[in-house]
């Protein structure tokens, strides 16, 4: 017993002595699986571990809900140096090369045999369609715009992406609603679908929205990058080299969390940088 304590102490001391002086400060949402949470259970947390280990840095977090002003109040305010998961080319930041690409997906119970792949599918007409809704700001998920264009706003059943702290992963509620038959189908961002669908008792079908762009220019698929502050080109290149070097590890983590990955497209759609 005493020996054990001594060994532990020695280990602690050893760790302390070799503790890297460098810090990797990451900003993340404290309650938003599968991306991140305070218990470090999300794939962003796991990928951040890899990045920090590779640069021999101590990983620390600044927690902030990813709502309006997240980037402004975290990365831009200097609370952290890196955001793990942000759409490529996002304003106000310097994006790394994309490290994965996902899509908005249809999610429905396999036993419903809906076979929906597109917003133009006539079968969608009579269905209750669940969407994550944010507020105004002109900000809505691409599926909401696609339904508005097709005069199907009345089909929408809105789900919030946030709730009180005691509710774990509020963004998963919409997938439970599909499994429980409360709604017929959900259209959600791929990483939410993959993660929460695998946790339901009912088997759910996940189908990426096709085509990947609603003409003329509303995309359903997005490249995802890491983000650093503008001007930090050297740091960006360092992160990119780690992303290259640890690609297999990162891809394995994304697979473990069920993130639906889609292929790169040839060129950007018109209207988007």
């Amino acid at each position: 017993m005493i020996q054990k304590v001594v060994v532990t102490l020695a280990l602690l001391l050893a760790t302390d002595q070799s503790a890297p002086s460098r810090q990797l400060r990451v900003c993340a949402d404290p309650n938003n699986l599968p991306f991140s949470n305070r218990r470090l259970e999300g794939f962003e947390n796991r990928i951040a571990d890899i990045i920090a280990a590779d640069m021999n840095a101590t990983l620390t977090y600044a927690w902030m809900p990813q709502r309006r002003g997240f980037v402004r109040r975290t990365l831009k305010a200097g609370l952290c140096d890196l955001i793990i998961d942000l759409p490529a080319g996002y304003e106000m930041v310097l994006s790394t090369k994309p490290y994965y690409r996902s899509s908005y997906v249809f999610v429905y119970r396999r036993d419903r045999h809906l076979e929906v792949r597109s917003f133009d599918d006539p079968g969608l007409g009579g269905l209750k369609i669940g969407l994550h809704m944010a507020g105004e700001d002109g900000a809505n998920q691409p599926p909401a715009h696609a339904l508005a264009r097709r005069h199907m706003a009345a089909n929408i059943v809105a789900f919030k992406m946030w709730d009180v702290d005691s509710v774990e992963s509020p963004a998963g509620r919409i997938i439970e609603a599909v499994a429980g038959g409360e709604i017929d189908i959900a259209v959600v961002w791929g990483p939410f679908a993959g993660y929460f669908a695998s946790r339901q008792a009912t088997e759910l079908q996940i189908v990426p929205v096709e085509p990947s762009v609603d003409p003329p220019s509303l995309p359903f698929t997005y490249d995802i990058s890491m983000a650093v502050r503008p001007g930090q080109a050297t740091f960006k290149e360092e992160i990119e080299s780690i992303l290259d070097r640890r690609r297999a590890d990162i891809t394995a983590i994304l697979a473990e969390y069920g993130v639906p990955l889609v292929g790169q497209r040839a060129s950007s759609p018109p209207g988007l940088k």
Partner: protein, 598 residues
Amino acid sequence: MILSLLHRRLRHGLASLVQIFAAFLIPCVAAAQSAGSEWTTPAGTVQGTRFSALDQINAGNVSQLHEEFRFKTGVLAGHEGAPLVVGTTMYVVGPFPNKLFALDLKRPGETRWVFDPKADRFAQDKACCDIVNRGAVFANGKVIYNVLDNTTVAVDAVTGREVWRKKFADPAKGQTMTMAPLVVHDKVLVGNSGGEMGVRGFIAALDVKTGAEVWRAFSTGPDKDVRIGPRFGPFYDKDKGQNLGSTSWPGTLWDHGGSTVWGWLTYDPDLNLLFHGTANPGVWNADLRPGDNKWSATVFARDPDTGEAIWAYQITPHDGWDYDGVNENIVVDLPFPSVNSATRKLLVRFDRNGFAYTMDRKNGQVLSAEKYVFANWADRVDLSSGLPVENPEKRTHEGVNVLDICPAAPGGKDQQPAAFSPKTGLFYVPTNNLCMDYEALKVMLFEGAPFVGASVTMKAGPGGNRGSLLAWDAAAGKKVWELKERFPVWSGVLATAGDVVFYGTLDRMFKAVDARTGNVLFERQLDSGIVGYPMTFIGPDGKQRVAVYSGPGGFGGAIVPGKLSTDDPFAALGIVGAMTDLPQFTGPGGAVHVFKLP
């Protein structure tokens, strides 16, 4: 007599006298339409006039004003609102964490006590535009105000101890509270904020003695939720029908329909009617919510005792510009349509949408609607149907770039309240002169998911000045004079029987102007920009004082305390693009400044 009683009460801490005092005070102020020696309700009067009968400070001597003392709240954020004065105590509510300071006016600058409501730390991350608070109300021996985390709290005015609190919702759900409550009879009236986060707007009445909820009226949903019943009689056909609060929305989107009640409440004791507006509908993309989206951007007249809607007028149907309808509805009796006409019971509102509405407050009829700022989204308001005659080129649509929409989202005027002087018959209106571009397809992020929407950037309107103070003749529907300012005038306005009008600017100037001519009679540079509302009172020495907060912030000044980056033109809903030079003129601050004559 009443004043001396109050002085004694404060010296001896006799709480029972507070009730006696309150019983005298409230009916007195309500009937007079002007504030007297004290300032006990957010707008000075329940009618929302921000007019004081005090005239010691007048056009002849206002230039001699000097600062008697200042008190810093310790919070560097937007200080909207005005202090209250009851007896020899000044009550100041700071921005989040919303401490209440009781200042001893007999010992200028010293506090009697400080009350900390222990606000939920989380609320700060959720607030829409800033962490402002628009002030408290005094009634029944208590100072009552809203805490950002959706709590209404009542504090004993003498001891500073909490009497009751009412928690409405967890701020994690996106809802907050910033508005100033109003007390009518034995009820405290409050409403919520957070339309940006998909919440459902409401106004509620709490028992002034216990904080127990007496009634709640939602702004959207079926008639019973909106408290529309047999007594409801809107003037226009467009506002008549069953359950319009749900049927004018697709599906169940009304449940996320915003239309919050974060602005001003006013009251007419003669008709026993409470007036309030509602904010913009939830989800800014108007294509997602075909229909009128009732009861967003609407003026309601309600019975304050039961919450029943008496009439409603939707000002901006199917809003696509963020033209909240929460601005103050000022209760005035004026000759209309000309100075020689008979006096009518009017409601005058300077809406965010750029039109000044003069309405019959008995039934909600619009008697006149004239542009008080440059506006191009609509040509005019059709007085027979009550509908705006829109300019289709300025309608926003998903996927379409629309340039130069005027006014911009903060409107010709936002919540910053106007004043009315019964002596001059004029309204004094703080305005914004901003236009906006609405551009489609900007990628955003919410909780890990990409969102696509419009980006909004704002810029100065015609003339290049971004704001002004103007004097408005409601009967004629015309501007009488205007003082142009570099920035939006985000302060409130005070008018007094001394024929002086007070306001402040974001570039730190506290000003007094002649109520008839607009001539600047006094100006003093404060420590920081002004978004507070000037108020006036009689000090313990029997001399008149004028007080105002400094501390820029709120929607218009968000760039300063939030340290919003100037290379992020979409920050704070796009207003930063129009305000990039503001940090050259003011740093952050937060203080109450009290002025008096030598």
